[in-house]
């Protein structure tokens, strides 16, 4: 009887540890340093598209043209750099990557699609020094609804950088 209880306790403890590890990994795989909005909340107000027309090369340290489309019926405002951050998925975590692109010092305004269908075009220059193998990167943009700084909205797109 005592042995059975001991085994049960050990089993429960083992299962708890396993589930804890899994939760930790899941959290790490979604955490984006410096980004206040969760991944689950992204891509609802607006989306980022890897513009197929502009023929992005997806090469490291090359121009990457991204189309931003508003899915909501409200105007979205971005900071001067579109709130754009680039992350590389490495060691089960997202790590910040340099964006070489400079941006004009003004807020960027994304009107609702039915008002201005072209949306916005943001250009990025992802740079991973010494990149030897293709890398999975996540490009995130964060803004807010016009006249409501607290209503933060975000979107991301995953791209393989060569």
């Amino acid at each position: 009887m005592y042995a059975k209880t001991k085994i049960s306790v050990l089993l429960v403890t083992f299962l708890f540890l396993i589930s804890s590890c899994s939760t930790k990994n899941d959290r790490n795989s979604n955490d984006l340093p410096g980004i206040t909005i969760s991944v689950e909340e992204m891509n609802t107000a607006f989306v980022i598209e890897d513009d197929p027309i502009t023929a992005n090369s997806h090469e490291n340290n090359k121009r990457l043209s991204l189309v931003i489309r508003n899915l909501s019926d409200k105007t979205i405002v971005f900071p001067s750099d579109y709130g754009l951050r680039i992350f590389e998925f490495q060691d089960q975590m997202w790590n910040i990557v340099q964006n070489r692109m400079g941006y004009a010092e003004s807020e960027k305004v994304l009107l609702p699609y039915d008002v201005f269908p072209p949306g916005l075009t943001a250009v990025a220059y992802p740079n991973i020094p010494g990149l030897l193998e293709p890398a999975r990167i996540r490009i995130v943009m964060v803004g807010h609804y016009e006249n409501s700084d607290s209503e933060v909205v975000g979107a991301y797109i995953d791209i393989t950088l060569k």
Binding site: D51, F116, L120, V123
Partner: protein, 200 residues
């Protein structure tokens, strides 16, 4: 209202004739490209304004000419876009990239200094010849004109809005690449990126 067609003409709509050099010390870099008559006339206009001109895109519906100065590097001033389609077109993005070591000018206050950030940057395409319908961050709208003449709209690129190079001046450069993304205003359909490299 974005994308509406104004009643007044933005720049000029007269047919363009043969090109004749009209600017002392200027060079029409478009000459070597054998552009169409419309483009030649457009380049003539830019030459007359004391700038150099280069047709960086010349197709049936759209012609894009870059107007610039050499001093002795290059200072890219504006784009002249001739729209012969029957639909409005928006300038969605204009950005510059230099060769790795090319120094650019750095202006904060007082005299400008030479610096070498060497980073590509995206400018704000100005409202051009229209002030209406243009909001910062929204592509400048190029209004449609009837074929074969079209309407030409000047899109100012100065000030660029970029702190480190407000007038798009590149000194002692080897290569400066300008990239322009256009889209139809009514549908959002993009053009392939127009990319042109000025070489020394």
């Amino acid at each position: 209202m974005v994308g509406g067609v104004p009643s007044t003409q933005p720049f000029r709509t007269t047919p363009y004739g043969d090109m004749e050099g009209s600017c002392d010390g200027c060079s029409a870099e478009g000459r070597g490209d054998a552009p169409g008559a419309d483009t030649i006339g457009l380049i003539n206009d830019i030459l007359a304004a004391g700038l150099n001109a280069k047709a960086i895109y010349d197709e049936d519906q759209i012609t894009v000419v870059a107007a610039f100065r050499r001093n002795p590097g290059i200072q890219v001033n504006s784009l002249y876009i001739n729209n012969k389609s029957n639909r409005p077109v928006s300038v969605m993005s204009v950005d510059f990239a230099t060769s790795e070591w090319a120094p650019t000018r750095f202006c904060l206050s007082g005299p400008c200094l030479f610096s070498a950030p060497n980073e590509p940057y995206q400018v704000i395409p100005g409202p051009g010849t229209y002030a209406q319908g243009t909001t910062v961050g929204i592509g400048s709208v190029i209004y449609p004109g009837e074929e074969p003449i079209g309407l030409t709209t000047r899109i100012s690129l100065v000030p660029s809005g970029y702190l480190y190079n407000p007038d798009n001046s590149f000194y002692w450069y080897t290569e400066v690449t300008i990239n322009v993304d256009l889209a139809y205003t009514d549908t959002g359909t993009r053009w392939p990126t127009i990319s042109y490299t000025f070489s020394h």
